[in-house]
């Protein structure tokens, strides 16, 4: 056994998605994670380890982020990070209880093995092996079993999942950040928990339908959230705070607005048509524009001051979509009685991929314009 030495010369500079520092990627000291101790220990390998076996081992190796600015706690990045271009950081922004976590879990589930993703030629695999194990254990598995996911803990400040998405010859890491809605207004740690916004490459704004269309809130919605019986307010300080954290030039960032829990609108035109629509593997900029128009119109009819409408104007490329992460409201026992039936959860991601250059072509160029 010998200590692992340089697999690649320190060549390219990377930006850490956690601390946002930039530095030369150096893979000379790789680490292995010990679940028992919760520590990262120097990785060792047999001298003859190479080829496919080495690639397989590297998928479980980590590199300690040097955090040159020394402003973050120790954190570790997948050793294969250096194999790819800088990740596309997708930031979920929305008020507390808007359904961000259920939506992002449904999206990742779709990317990892959904039929719709396959129709669009998308393939995805986990980049951070152990983080994926945790994500699967805490989110994917309960979601698959039809259990309600708990509210996101505040102050995590790290990513939820790190995937490598491939479409054709384009291969790019994708990092999802999901923080508690309360964090967007929390001044603690000088906003360090939401610092990922500064590095966001794509914005996924989440607005929930029962909050906007209170008359359509179902009995289960009212049971878990008594505030839905009160008149709707126009303000959404969580989103406003998040937008204000974005760096200069933010208006050029790809952005989508997902109207979650749109299954509650299943008898309302035109939402009823969209929530049942299937793209069949076709990416159509025109249909996305039409859907954005319908979402915008519906929001306008309900609340002329909705923040979502302002977002559409604020970002140069933005689309709006009807989505439902679970297909129905949660029952009293914190389960979804009919199981999980996500609807159109991939569409907002397709729009973001097209706007961010992961999906290429003339049609993709027109998305969001």
């Amino acid at each position: 056994m010998v200590a692992v030495t340089s697999a690649k010369p320190p060549a390219r500079r990377v930006k850490c998605p956690v601390c946002l520092d930039e530095y030369a990627w150096d893979e000379r000291e790789v680490l292995e994670y010990s679940v028992k101790d919760g520590k990262y220990n120097p990785a060792r390998r047999p001298a003859g380890l190479r080829g496919a076996k080495l690639d397989d081992a590297r998928r479980r190796w980590y590199v300690k982020c040097p955090n040159p600015s020394q402003d973050s706690a120790n954190h570790y990045l997948p050793a294969t990070l250096g194999d790819f271009a800088d990740p596309l950081v997708v930031a979920l922004v929305g008020r507390p209880r808007s359904g961000k976590t259920h939506l992002v879990v449904a999206m990742i589930r779709e990317l990892l093995g959904g039929v719709s993703a396959g129709e669009h030629g998308l393939r995805a695999e986990a980049l951070d092996y152990y983080q994926h194990v945790t994500f699967k254990r805490n989110f994917l598995d309960p979601f698959e079993r039809g259990s309600r996911l708990p509210g996101t803990r505040g102050g995590s400040g790290t990513y939820l999942e790190w995937l490598v998405v491939q479409r054709g010859n384009v291969k790019r890491p994708l990092v999802f950040f999901d923080v508690a809605g309360e964090d967007f207004r929390d001044p603690a740690e000088n906003g360090r928990h939401t610092r990922f916004l500064v590095n966001a490459g794509a914005l996924l704004f989440v607005e929930d339908a029962p909050w906007i269309f209170r008359s359509l809130a179902e009995e289960q919605d009212l049971r878990v959230d008594e505030t839905l019986s009160l008149p709707a307010g126009a303000s959404n300080e969580w989103v406003q705070e998040a937008v204000s954290r974005l760096p200069a030039g933010r208006e050029s960032l790809p952005a989508v607005v997902a109207l979650t829990k749109s299954d509650r609108l299943r008898y309302m035109t035109p939402a009823d048509r969209w929530i049942r629509e299937r793209s069949g593997g076709l990416l159509s900029a025109d249909r996305m524009l039409t859907e954005s128009r319908d979402v915008y119109g519906l929001l306008h009819s309900a609340n002329a001051n909705s923040i979502a409408m302002r977002l559409y104007s604020e970002f140069q490329r933005c689309t709006m979509h009807f989505v439902s992460a679970t297909g129905g409201a949660v029952a009293e026992d914190d389960t979804f009685p009919a199981g999980i039936r996500p609807a159109r959860v991939l569409v907002p991601l397709l729009a973001l991929f097209a706007m961010a250059g992961l999906i290429t072509g003339p049609e993709a160029e027109r998305v969001g314009r």
Binding site: Y33, V35, K36, D37, G38, K39, Y40, A73, N74, H75, Y76, R95, P96, R97, D128, Y130, Q131, V133, T134, R137, N138, D141, P142, R145, S147, R148, L149, P150, G151, T152, R153, G154, G155, S156, G157, A180, G181, E182, R185, D186, P187, A188, W211, V224, D225, E226, T227, L230, W238, D334
Partner: protein
């Protein structure tokens, strides 16, 4: 941070879903200002969610959990989280106040009748710690009754703290046990050792968390509790804590022995225990020095425990049957550690034959017995050690008896366990030796057989020995006939 008058009593805050939609302050007692309540919300926001733990195919969350925090500015909070309200946005109830006021009671308030798992609908008032005095007694009694169920876990935890290799611990327990019982027992045993008049050991804790790799679990986070209880290890992320796996596998080393003796001392006489410890440590304030002092005393008195690899019997002092076998007490100047080392009766009392042991069936002469019909461990052990002609069944019976002693919550427990471990090792070694001897015998026999076969089959016409005469010409074989 001065939130309110230092002389005021402990204040209360209720957290839950607010009309704005997020988790936050729902109500607070009259002694707090709105600004103070908001500041406490910021401090506790990363701790006040009760997120489920994935255990097998299920998500598990306790009905309630308690966490006690002491912050660098001298203030403290005891947070009770309830599995009511929305999952992950549950209701919780915090008591906030100066750490000296709260710290003395934090572990003893689970039975308080004024915990609110939802808005009580009336104004909250300040609380006087004086009202909690009786809760300390009630909870302590409750804990002592359950001490036996937590013995192995307690031994592991006490040992880890005595080792002193960390300041913050992750305690991994199962879903059936109440970590607060374990923590209270650990405090009862260790606080007299670790705390002095000059230096107080902070017993901060959280009885339920999902992960020790989240930022709020970091030892560097202000207020992060020292003892952090999990039901399942997380599968990613770095932990800055020492993980204590409180399973029945007990380490068998000097610190484990020391921990076991302290626990035994405490359980033997909880009321006298603090003074017994303090008598040995007068004037020593530093926790590490206090441990070192007690450990030195312990090691002097327990040579067999410091060398666990060898059978205990070899370390017992040579004696005549009428000489007492007495070890130095754990805490010098005090009584001995256990009754194992008290002199056995010179003449075993004549008694009826004892019943068969479970799983045994052999009936032997009655030996001196302690309460519950059990014989003292030393008597059983003596029989094991001295009875060189015991057959396997008898030996098995005696080991079974030691097992019963081990599982019994009495002062013999620890030493019986140690003795049994050592004796089982010795039995194992004997078995190995026997096996080796048998293997050698088989090998020798096989070699002999092979050699014999070669002698029989290879030379059909054995070559006669050839002697060389002095002239260098060999003699011709005679053909064995002779007499030609």
């Amino acid at each position: 941070m001065t939130y309110y008058d230092q002389d005021a009593s402990v204040e209360q805050i209720l957290f839950g879903l607010t009309p704005k939609g997020g988790l936050g302050v729902k109500k607070y007692s009259v002694g707090l200002t709105p600004d103070a309540a908001d500041k406490w919300d910021n401090r506790l926001s990363s701790y006040n969610r009760l997120s489920p733990t994935a255990i097998g195919q299920k998500q598990w969350v306790p009905d309630r959990a308690f966490s006690y925090f002491e912050f660098a500015d001298g203030w403290a909070a005891l947070l009770a989280r309830f599995n009511t309200g929305e999952s992950g946005r549950n209701n919780s109830h915090a008591l906030v106040g100066p750490s000296p006021a709260l710290g003395a009671y934090a572990m003893f308030l689970s039975g308080w009748d004024r915990w609110y798992d939802r808005d009580p609908g009336h104004t909250l008032g300040s609380v006087s710690p004086y009202d909690w005095q009786h809760l300390v007694t009630t909870w302590t009694d409750h804990v002592r009754i359950r001490a036996r169920d937590h013995r192995a876990a307690l031994n592991s935890l006490v040992r880890e703290v005595l080792l002193g290799e960390a300041e913050h611990y992750t305690v991994l327990t199962d879903t059936d046990s109440d970590p607060l019982v374990l923590l209270t027992l650990a405090r009862s045993v260790l606080d007299p050792v670790l705390s002095s008049q000059a230096q107080r050991f902070s017993w901060t804790f959280s009885t339920y968390e999902r992960s020790d790799t989240d930022p709020e679990a970091s030892p560097y986070a202000d207020g992060s509790p020292r003892f952090w209880c999990l039901r399942s290890l997380p599968t990613s992320g770095q932990s800055g804590r020492r993980r204590v796996l409180v399973d029945p596998t007990v380490e068998d080393d000097l610190h484990a022995g020391f921990a076991a003796e302290l626990i035994t001392q405490y359980l033997n006489d909880p009321s006298r225990y603090p003074q017994l410890v303090e008598d040995q440590l007068a004037g020593i304030t530093d926790a590490r020095t206090r441990i070192a002092k007690l450990l030195t005393n312990f090691e002097k008195g327990q040579p067999h425990i410091s060398r666990p690899a060898e059978p205990v019997v070899n370390h017992l002092p040579a004696r005549t049957p009428d000489q007492p076998r007495v070890a130095a007490p754990v805490l010098a100047g005090q009584r001995g550690p256990t009754e194992v080392y008290t002199p056995p009766p010179a003449v075993p009392p004549a008694a009826p034959r004892r019943p068969s042991y479970p799983g045994g069936g052999r009936v032997t002469e009655e030996k001196p017995r302690k309460r519950g019909g059990q014989r003292p461990a030393h008597v059983v052990f003596e029989e094991l050690g001295d009875g060189r002609n015991l057959d396997p069944d008898q030996r098995s019976d005696l080991i079974g008896e030691l097992r019963v002693l081990w599982q019994t919550n009495d002062p013999y427990e620890h030493n019986a366990r140690l003795m049994m471990l050592h004796f089982e090792k010795r039995v194992t070694r004997l078995e190995i030796v026997i096996l080796l001897v048998m293997a050698a015998a088989v090998l020798i026999t096989s070699l002999a057989v092979v050699t014999a076969q070669r002698e029989i089959t290879v030379p059909t016409q054995p070559t006669a020995p050839v002697s060389v005469p002095a002239n260098g010409t060999p003699q011709s074989p005679t053909g064995g006939g002779g007499g030609q």
